[in-house]
Subunit: 324 residues, 2 copies
DNA sequence: CAACTTTTGGCAACCGGTTGCCATCACCTT
DNA sequence: AAGGTGATGGCAACCGGTTGCCAAAAGTTG
């Protein structure tokens, strides 16, 4: 049997004071006499009183809750972001709630509208919504974006420009004269950022670059990407992200191609799993905890600008000298 | 600049009707004349009206929101559970919010109390709370447990008894005469369930079983486990879960032990990564999507009992014949 | 001891919705 | 034309807190 929750009025009656006094005893203790307060607290304790967060939030409009929306909570890329956001939110006395939007712009928009007044603000990581919808959301709620840029909306982005230059130089130093980019979702900001950086860096070093795809940024998407890359005669592939790169590794193994002696593979993000796949993946690591932390910080401080965080190269076994 | 959100009263004034009529136009459409309703809807649309979920929930006590609490959202074990719960909740018109409790009983209890009235119920997956706290929570809210049993609280558990028998028979058929269990968290229900099943099945087949640990169920915990297992001269180890097993594989590789020719390794759960580690892991797969789906179902239907779901063996490259 | 200040508690309005009840009115019946 | 029925909209109370304002009580000062 579920019990009826005692309210502030129950406590007031039982303690022989007015409801407003009970309210103040909790939310503004110095406003009520010490003895009265102790009595009220004791009664509340005995009755098992818990303040109703909804009722409390209604007049004030503050919920001390922040919503973090992700296209896919099971994508290891977001783990660091979750951790960082969580820590920072807790440190500031906020509760972080996570929502998975299942890669759907509609689900994301719907949840933002539905949760609107139930949170103090949103962090939208790799949002799939249209710019218009994001602007609309930012008009109603405090919003901070991660890895997406919309004019007028504060954001935190991981910049791969400098890191990508390191990737290209690493491949060049191993003797590669060309590379193939396995592209990810066309709508992805990171995908555009990575491809642009790759073209520019490769161009500067006189390397040939081609792009194939788009592929689904998942392990299974890697099979198609691997097959397509073999067809192109590539000696090095740079995948949109680690998931795609890991899928590519598996497919190469299935088809008898050896990595890195037959072909080198580079990923992006350095996710969980990148260091225990076979061979371990060379990848461009991004400061994702920082990213989550900074986003919450921006949200709570009402920051306005755009924060850019750099990434760095991690060399492992999937890249090697060109042979033949 | 953030806009003031229009309320039902703004719409009412603008449409020239009473607030109650606007309310009904949305929540009980057949209660108001078609033309009035259309007019109200048009005005609401023009003003950008969005119902305030808090205000709506306050009188009714219903939020159409369910909280799923997890000790660690980044643990791949929970991915399937999240997916299953999400699907089922959405299908029933509920919003699922996720909360990470960071393996802490205190954080979990605190969040359950804080969110109490803000959700219609909780699914607690692998709860770290004490039985007393869980009972208290179940007294105030609808609660369903996953992989934990508390008398009187409905639950969904994955039963490894039968699956573990398959693991032991598989190892026996490969010529193993003994096995070592690498145990996980002492407080874990699954850990107890797995060890008990292992003892019983092995005993029936006349195999020797020993247990070492406990080890942290993480990749890094696997290093210690591997070293300890080598010291025992084991030919086969069964790890508490896949994370631990993967960590063990890595450590064996570092120390030059070959899997499976020198030693066989078995995990539990079949998480993301279990099929692309090296060698791919033999493991006992559990129906985790089912688990999440069933938990939500139980919660919404007000189910009372305990649902038991079976697991099944997936044989991959980490188990092989005993040599020497 | 009067006049003044500070402390303390209560009243009542409010946050933004929902809903029971009632009044009105159009439409039917016979 | 009187009486009955169903559809429709409004009033007001309520959900569980918060808070501005006021008055009574207590403390301070000369």
């Amino acid at each position: 049997m579920r019990q009826r929750m005692p309210t502030i009025h129950d406590v007031a009656r039982e303690a022989g004071v007015a409801a407003s006094t009970v309210s103040r005893a909790f939310s503004n203790p110095r406003r009520v006499n010490v003895h009265t307060r102790q009595h009220i607290v004791a009664v509340a304790e005995r009755l098992g009183y818990r303040p109703n967060p909804l009722a409390r939030a209604l007049p004030s409009g503050r919920t001390t809750t922040i919503g973090l929306l992700l296209p896919d909570v099971t994508n290891p890329f977001f783990f660091g972001i979750i951790r960082g956001a969580e820590r920072q939110a807790n440190a500031a006395g906020y509760t972080l709630i996570l929502m998975d939007t299942e890669e759907s712009p509609e689900v994301e928009t719907h949840n933002v509208e539905r949760l609107g007044r139930a949170v103090d603000g949103f962090v939208l990581a790799s949002s799939r919504q249209s710019e218009a919808d994001i602007r609309a959301a930012a008009g109603r709620n405090a919003v901070v974006l991660i890895n997406k840029q919309v004019a007028g909306v504060p954001s935190v982005v991981i910049d791969n420009t400098e890191g990508t230059r390191q990737v290209v130089e690493h491949l060049a130093s191993l003797g590669h004269r060309s590379l193939t980019y396995l592209s990810g979702p066309p709508a992805s900001w990171s995908n555009a950022n990575r491809w642009a950086a790759l073209r520019e860096s490769a161009g500067r070093l006189g390397m040939r670059v081609t792009r194939i795809g788009p592929f689904s940024p998942t392990v299974s998407g890697g099979a198609a990407a691997a097959d397509a890359a073999i067809g192109r005669g590539a000696t090095a592939v740079v995948a949109f992200n680690d998931m795609l790169a890991i899928g590519t590794l598996r497919r190469f193994a299935e088809r008898g191609w050896r990595v890195p002696s037959d072909i080198s593979v580079v990923g992006y993000d350095d996710i969980f799993g990148a260091d225990f796949c076979s061979p371990p993946l060379t990848t461009l690591a991004s400061p994702r905890e920082d990213c989550g932390r900074t986003a919450i910080d921006l949200l709570l401080r009402g920051g306005r600008g755009e924060v850019v965080l750099p990434s760095h190269l991690v060399v492992r076994g999937s890249t090697g000298f060109v042979t033949g």
